[in-house]
Amino acid sequence: MVGGLVRFPAWRSTELATHALRPPGSGLRARGMEGACKVSGTPALELQSVRRAYGFGHSATVALDDVRLTVRPGRFVSLIGPSGCGKSTLLRLVAGLERPDRGEVRVHGVTPAEACAAKMIGLVPQSPALLPWMSVLRNVTLPQRINPGAARRRARIPGSTGRESAPEIPSMRELLVKAGLGEAMHKLPAQLSGGMRQRVAIVRAFGLRPDVLVMDEPFSALDEFTRESLQDQLLDLWDELRTTVLFVTHSVSEAVRLSDAVVVMARNPGRIVETVELDLPRPRGERLFGERRFHEYEALVRDRLRRAWHSDAA
């Protein structure tokens, strides 16, 4: 026993796949390090043997090594793992904010840079990143006015959903009302609570109707009740728009509640050690918290996370 926790022996990520625990009769699924599902057609996200290191020579820190991940369009996938395991780096690679040293990142079959140029990616960072001099409405509509040539570029990308093929895109005003921000539309960010600001950031990203939405611990600074309320609203928006979401979180219950799959990562070097597929019904309201399967999944992800943590500490 170390620190009250069972210390697992060090193990290679590939081995984890074969030793994945499955509670008897629960039907819970866990996959190997690829984090992959067999995908027909162009996947929304594809990372192949991706490596990213910071620094040079002996002092280099390998943030990600040999990361493979494939996500089908319309899925909600969470990344979870100990601090320093490369979750945010992976997110930045997908969002085109960084480039891999090795390997390939594809978003609907094109590079992240091309996807950004076609406005196929929406980002919700840890802080709301709102412009303090603009009203809520102007904050969420500004990105629509940026890069006006994106629609043309997007139409040329075969993997993209395209705005014209979307069922019906709600206007920004409608999205704000749906997110409970109808009254706050003309207020400045400084007049809103932290939770409301984060909702504005989510609406801003969803309003672009991105093919892939990347969210970097968007609720981490909020209290428990606000967090759950925002999870509800995020799920409502996602149920309607069905954007592919890559969601970084430190919260196991948040990951289980929101996701179709939870990708567990370990550090030193940052890598994917397992993907836990979640077979829970949607919509996932508050009743989910009382269901046995929800807690079984929580326990499973927590167990995998503990192993990932110890794989580094060992």
């Binding site: 960072p125 802080s127 994106a150």
Partner: protein, 283 residues
């Protein structure tokens, strides 16, 4: 390290004035001046200073004119002071405009192009630490007694605080905001117009609060350096000093101080309206 408005040393100008974070106003604080506890200390202080002045003027009449004499000089010939004040004000604002335009354009270039920053900033620092008063006579020799040397001197004095503050402001956009807009491939111009310039505004106004009074100093220094100059309060002070007309000297100084305060108030009012969302405009 923030720069206190009106401070002119090279060391203090080398640091950008740091505006505070974002928030909204508290209207009740605007009525604070109604309370005697707020205005009475200033009034008492002014009364004490006036009494000291009068005491000094009685003892050393050849060094300090009495306040009634200064007041008489102002009221007996107000046109003289208004005319010269307008000349100095014109030179100050025109020079400031030139300095602002040059500094702002260069700040944009240095924030967008690191190579320009590396090339320009060392020269700007050297220019800043060089006493402008020492350059003024050379500029007068080069450009004559017309407005050109006065505009250049005023522009040079205003240039550096605006350059440093604006460049810092343009680079002050939070990383997460930049990331959001980079993921939608916002272009440089879009980033500059929608993000960088608005984020730089609190820094620009902080610089303006410093350089508006400085521009008056620049104009007066230029007028005093150009010995053939015939107009402006700087010239009025020089001429009156040489003729030992102390009431005129001090009346001109009071007018200059009044102009400086008025300009500062004007900037503050514009800042309050333009930056109503920012902490720096709160009481």
């Amino acid at each position: 390290m923030p720069v206190a408005a009106g401070r002119t040393s090279a060391a203090s100008q080398a640091q950008p004035a740091e505006p505070s974070r974002f928030s909204l106003s508290h209207p009740q604080s605007r009525l604070a001046w109604v309370r005697p506890a707020v205005w009475l200390p200033l009034v008492v202080m002014l009364a004490v200073l006036a009494a000291l002045w009068q005491w000094g003027a009685r003892r050393l009449p050849y060094l300090l004119p009495s306040l009634p004499d200064v007041g008489r000089s102002l009221t007996e010939n107000p046109g003289y002071y208004v005319h010269n004040a307008l000349v100095t004000l014109g030179e100050a604002t025109a020079g400031l405009g030139l300095g602002f335009a040059a500094a702002f354009a260069l700040a944009v270039l240095t924030s967008e192009l690191p190579i320009v920053r590396r090339a320009v900033m060392p020269i700007a620092v050297v220019l800043n630490v060089t006493p402008i008063v020492a350059i003024a006579p050379a500029l007068v020799v080069a450009f004559g007694f017309g407005p050109a040397p006065k505009l250049i001197i005023t522009g040079l004095i205003c240039f550096f605080p605006i350059l440093i503050n604006t460049a810092t402001g343009l680079r002050s956009v939070p990383q997460e905001v930049l990331h959001v807009y980079r993921t939608i491939d916002a272009g440089r111009i879009e980033m500059l117009w929608h993000l960088r310039i608005p984020h730089a505004l609190p820094f620009v106004f902080a610089a303006l609060r410093i350089v508006f009074p400085l521009s008056i100093i620049g104009a007066v220094v230029a007028e005093m350096s150009a010995s053939g100059s015939t107009r402006g309060l700087g010239t009025a002070i020089s001429v009156a000093s040489s003729m030992n007309q102390l009431p005129v000297v001090y009346a001109s100084i009071f007018v200059l101080a009044f102009m400086g305060v008025t300009l500062l108030l004007a900037v503050t009012l514009v800042e309050r309206r333009a930056l109503h969302w920012h902490d720096s405009t709160q009481d």
